[in-house]
């Protein structure tokens, strides 16, 4: 049976204590480094000091985060918190997928990597029907054509494009 304080807490219980503890710990750690990571300039007003705004930010983080932690209705980490922590760890897999995509684009090229990345991740997410896989390939081509071809966003040509013959090489570097 939750207490009145728990009942009135905005948001789910799971993971709140871990997040607040981590937030306050990091804030204190960063605040402890303020002497070495910022400078105090002589003959300068307080508001013009380079240290002033990091101190405001970190002071606010420690103070408000600390009070938030203090007023939290829970004091113990339960198995629900640990399960939530695992749930957070699960998204690291997708962060790795994203980083792999980032690393491969300058090597293999925006179009080929996107055309492989989209169906692979679609497959990983459990869509095995050919319709969905073709749809993902179509979406990949559309994204590359729209952003690099039409909107000319700055995505460099791949290292592999260097091996292509003259005119084709320029076309691939510029548009794909």
């Amino acid at each position: 049976m939750p207490t009145e304080r728990e009942r009135r807490f905005v948001g789910p219980r799971r993971g709140q204590l871990i997040f607040a503890l981590f937030f306050v710990a990091v804030s204190i750690l960063l605040l402890s480094q303020i002497g070495s990571q910022t400078k105090w300039v002589e003959k300068s007003k307080l508001f013009a000091q380079p240290r002033f705004w990091p101190a405001v930010g970190l002071g606010g983080m420690v103070l408000l985060g600390g009070v938030h932690l203090y007023l939290m209705p829970w004091r113990r980490i339960t198995r629900y918190d640990v399960t939530e922590l695992r749930k957070w760890a699960q998204v690291l897999e997708f962060a790795v997928w994203f980083m792999a995509y980032v690393v491969l684009v300058p090597l293999i090229g925006y179009l080929p990597v996107t055309m492989a990345f989209m169906p692979l991740l679609t497959w990983r997410m459990g869509y095995r029907q050919p319709r969905m896989l073709w749809l993902s390939v179509g979406f990949a081509v559309a994204v590359v054509v729209l952003f690099k071809g039409f909107l000319s966003v700055k995505i460099p040509g791949a290292a592999i494009y260097e091996y292509l013959p003259g005119a084709l090489r320029s076309f691939f570097i510029l548009y794909l």
Binding site: G11, L64, E84, V103, A140
Partner: protein, 539 residues
């Protein structure tokens, strides 16, 4: 008249017309897909707009911002899932209308109300622009600092029950904007001798991480939902007629939207809440609210669509964004060396009016598009969640990588994506981080400039606007602390279990009235249910 002509000249270009069309249609589509929202779309498209003219880039982004709420009403009404967060209130009255077989009426009413809200706010602001042009120069460094401080305080206190952690997250935003080389004394701050931190943490990297990547992670780890779609038959023009029957509710709601939109950090939710409460209190049928009331739907949709144009006021007049979306738009100005603020209103008024006219045209385009394309458009609701996550992850790459072609930026965006995911899981707000970053940077510059001319601390508020802003800050803080103290006392009383009803005569009468009203409401509902069942029996 000359001003209007100059503004129209700015807009008379094929690329602006294309931007208007792309922004309006794209915004509606994005709004109609639950789980995407304008913040994700704007974050992804932001770097792509840097290569465009400011008016073209801003028109696309404004188009998405202004039209996404039109689209967001579609899933809110048809499947009880708001397309964007601000359409949550639309589900209260929109979905019950669908449930009783009136989806067409609900949609047409939502479109008409949204159109009215959008047009009303733009016309108000075009008329209001000359006044703004006179008021804006009264804002110097001190006033802008105080307005930014007021904005950040309003954002924090707006998160009821979470103001402490919202404040801590805003402070986190202020801290991360201070990382890097300090621009006046050229000393490094929290770089840990890492070269990639010397230029600081880019706002767009944080925005993309917190909004786009985190949303992709949420979708990728969620289950696909089975959607039962209601069939839509007939035209969608009847809403315009029905809206005409409630001019008071529509006008007051739109006015709330305009007023709340102009105050930094307040926005759609407060406007909706106020207009919905007003509509319910003044309605002849308050019992229908939440059960498919046309007035409730009008109040919710008019108020939220009146906000985007109004939200541009603090951004254009003072250079202070009031919410995450306008904060993102600020970076478009900076990239093109256009500094929004009092100078813009004084020197480039046609540009400001052109933006408002663009919004006006946009509302007309969206309404026409929706009246004819809704039946086909509702199919986008069927896109599976996890596939949508894959698409957003792929699109996020364009946003982050095209900024500086830096893999480090992508790592940072991924880290902020994980942070955004955790915040979403915990129902904690991520907007204070963005506003802390943007307003923190503004406050740093303006405080330094303002204090340079101040001898005594009280001189800081010796100008009328500065004094008014200072008083407003004190009032907001006082009312917040009063509310917090009340809530604490209420909590203690509830914990002790000794909470007693007041014996004051007025309170006793009030309670008696409520009891009476409740019983009366029950009778009215029973009567209506009886009539409905009789009506169903007929068929």
């Amino acid at each position: 008249m000359d001003l209007l002509q100059s503004a129209l000249e700015i807009l008379m270009r094929w690329d602006v017309a294309l931007a208007l069309l792309a922004g309006s249609v794209g915004g509606v589509l994005i709004g109609a897909i639950p789980g995407v929202g304008p913040a994700v779309a704007i974050a992804i498209l932001l770097p792509a707009t840097f290569s465009m003219d400011p008016i073209v880039g801003l028109t696309v982004l404004l188009g998405i911002y202004g039209s996404s709420m039109y689209g967001g009403a579609i899933p809110a009404i048809l499947i009880n899932t708001p397309g964007t967060a601000v359409n949550a209130l639309t589900t209260y009255d929109g979905y019950p209308m669908t449930a009783r077989g009136e989806p067409r009426r609900a949609l047409s009413l939502a479109y008409s109300a949204s159109f009215f809200g959008g047009m009303f706010s733009v016309i108000c602001l075009i008329l209001f622009a000359p006044v703004l042009a006179k008021v804006a120069p009264l804002f110097g460094s001190r006033e802008i600092f105080l307005a930014a401080l007021l904005g950040i305080i309003l954002v924090i206190v707006a998160h009821r029950g979470q103001s402490l952690i919202a404040g801590a997250l805003a402070a986190f935003g202020i801290f991360i904007q201070s990382i890097g080389l300090e621009p006046v004394k050229y000393t490094s701050r929290y770089t840990f001798d890492q070269p990639f931190l010397s230029s600081g943490i880019n706002l767009i990297v944080v925005v993309l991480g917190l909004f786009a990547l985190s949303q992709a992670f949420v979708l990728l780890t969620s289950e696909d939902e089975k959607i039962r779609m209601t069939r839509l038959r007939g035209g969608l023009f009847q809403g315009l007629r029905e809206l005409g029957r409630h001019p008071r509710v529509a006008t007051v709601s739109a006015s709330f939207g305009v007023m709340m939109g102009m105050i930094p950090g307040v926005g759609e939710f407060t406007a909706q809440f106020m207009s919905y409460t007003y509509a319910q209190r003044t309605s002849k049928r308050p019992q229908d609210f939440g059960n498919g009331s046309s007035e409730g739907l009008i109040a919710a949709e008019t108020a939220n669509n009146a906000v985007p144009a109004a939200a541009m006021v603090p951004l254009l007049a003072l250079g202070i964004p009031g919410e995450a979306l306008t904060a993102m738009m600020l970076s478009v100005f900076y990239v093109h060396n256009v500094v929004p603020g009092p100078g813009l209103f004084q020197n480039d008024m046609p540009f400001v009016v052109a933006l408002y006219i663009a919004l006006l045209i946009l509302n007309i385009l969206v309404l026409i598009f929706l009246l004819f394309a809704t039946k086909s458009l509702i199919q986008v609701v069927r896109i599976p969640n996890r596939f949508l996550g894959v698409c957003i992850l792929t699109l996020s790459f364009v946003g982050v990588y095209s900024l500086r072609n830096s893999a480090t930026d992508c790592v940072m965006a991924a880290l902020f994506g994980v942070l955004g995911y955790i915040l979403k899981r915990l129902s904690l707000p991520s907007v204070p981080i963005i506003l802390g970053m943007v307003l923190g940077g503004i406050m740093e510059v303006k405080l330094r400039a303002g204090m340079a001319r101040v001898k005594e601390p009280l001189d800081f508020i010796d100008r009328p606007v500065a004094f008014l802003l200072f008083v407003a800050i004190l009032l907001v803080l006082a009312s917040h602390f009063r509310r917090v103290i009340r809530e604490r006392a209420d909590l203690r009383a509830a914990e002790r279990g000794v909470q007693k009803s007041s014996h004051r005569f007025g309170n006793m009468l009030g309670r008696r009235r409520q009891i009476f009203l409740k019983d009366r409401f029950k009778r009215v509902r029973a009567r209506h249910a009886k009539r409905l069942s009789k009506f169903k029996d007929l068929f």
